[in-house]
Amino acid sequence: MDGNLNALTTVFTEFYYWVTVVFMFLIHVGFCMYEVGASRRRNHMHTLMKNIMIIPLVTVTFFFFGWWIYWAFPNFYIFGGSIDFDAGAANTPWSPNMGTNLDDRITGVFWAAFLLFSWTAASIVSGSVIERIRSSALWVHAVLIGSVFWIVDAAWGWHYAGWMVKYLGYHDAYASGVIHAIAGGYALGVLVVLGPRIGKFASDGTPRDIPPHNPWMLTIGIFLIYTGFWGFYAACNVPVIAPEVIDGQIVGTTWTATNIYLAPTTLSGITFNFLMSLSGGLMAAYVVSRGDAFWTFSGGLAGIITASAGNDLYHPIQAMLIGAVGVVIVYKLHYWVEKRFKLDDAVGAVAVHGYAGVVGLIIAGFVLWGAPSSPFEGYATITPWGQTAGAIIMFFVLGFLPGFVVSKLQAAAGVLRIPEEVELQGLDYAEHHAYEDAMAEIIEADKAHLSGKVTPAE
C-alpha cells in the first residue's frame, strides 16, 4: 500500500466489507428461525439442521471453486468468450491471495461477502421444501445453487465485465435476479419434482393452510432477515473508489461509491430506497392479504426485492411504488400457481424471492430505460428487453432447469423424498430418537426423584 491515503482507503474498504458480512449473518439466523417456526413440532431439529449445515457445505465449496467461477466465467463461451484462467488464477484455493497476505487485504472480505449471498441463495431453496425433503438431497442442491449456479449468474450479470452487462445492458444492483430470481426459480424446479406435503391438498384439489407452530419465531426471523438485508445492500457497493482506479469513462478526480458494476451511486440513496421499498411492500401486502401477518411481513421483503434491481438509481417514491406493485403481482401469482399446479411452497419462497425478482428486473428495464449499465465504453444501455432476457436467464435457465433436472435424478435414485411413514411420524423422532429417548428418560428420572422426596403431608 503506497501512501497513507491508499492505506487508509484499503483498510476502510476491508473493514467495510467485514462489517457487512457480520450483518449478513443475521439473514441466515432469520432464515433458520423462520423455517423452524413454520415447521411442525415433530420436524424442528431436522429443519434446523438442514439449514445450519448449508453454512459449512457452501463455505468450503465456495472456497474450493465458487470464488474461482466468479472471476473465470464472466464471458464463458458466450459471444466467443472462454474461461478466463488469468483472472481466475488469483482466486484458486492454492493462490497466495486466498490467505493472510499483506499485499492483498481485500480478497478475504470480498470473498466472504459473496459467500454470505451464497448461503442466502441456498437458504431460500431450503425453506420451500421443509418437512419432506431428505437432508442429503437438499445439501447437494445447496452446493449447486450456492457454489455453482448463482455464482455463474453473478459472473455473467453481476460482474463489471460480465457478458450480460456488456451485451444486454443487464442491471441488477442489489440482486433482484442474481440472488432472488435464481433461487426462487431453483426452488420451483425442486418443488415440481418433490411434490406437496401430505395433507396439503384436499381430495378435490383445494389447498389447505399448514399454519406455523410458532408465529413469534417467524416474526423475529423475518425481522432479522430485514436487518441482515441492510448489510447485504452495503455489501453490494464499492464504498469508495477513484475514477482512475475504475479506469472507465468517468473523468475528473471525484471519488465515489459505486454499485457492483463500478457505476456511481450513493449509500445515502440506497438507504432511502431500501426503507421506501420495504414500506411500499408492507403497505401493499397488508391490503392485498387483508391483514395476514405473515404475508404482510413477507410482503415487506418482496417489496425490497422487487425494487432491488434499480435501487441504486430510483427515486424513493419510485422505490415505494415499485415495491407495492411487485407485492400485489407476487401475491396473486402465488395463489394462482398453488391452486393450478398443486405446488406446496412451505414459506412462499418462490413467490417472495423468485416472482418478485423477475418482476423487479422487468420493471427496472422500463424505469431505467436508456441509463448506462456500466462506466465502461461500448456496453449496452438498460432496456426492457435486456432486463426481460436477464430475468429468463436467471429464473429459468440457471434456476428452474438445474433444480428440476437434479431433482429428477435424485427422485429416480430414490434419494429425494423421505418415506411417507417418516413424514407422518415426524423427522425428529425418526432421526433424533436418541434425543427424544434421552429427554423422556430424564423427565421420568426427575419425576421419580420428586415423588421420592415429597411426602403426602406436604
Partner: protein, 71 residues
Amino acid sequence: MSTIGYKDWAVDLAEVGAIYPFQGWEVPMTIVGVIFWLGWHRIQFVREGKHLEEARKTGDPEKIRKALERY
C-alpha cells in the same frame, strides 16, 4: 434517450447532481405517493369498520368466556 439524464458515464462526477429517473417530475411523483398513502388509510378504515361490524354480531358467549379465562 435515458430516463436518468445520462446515456453514459463519460462525465466529471464533480458536475453531476441527481441521477434518479424522471427528474423534474418530483411533484407529480409526490402527489401519486401521497394518494397511495391516503388511499391505504381509506381502505383500512372501510375494511376494519366492516370487519368489526361483522365480528360484533358473531360472538359466541361460551367462546368469549373461554377467551377471557385464557387471558
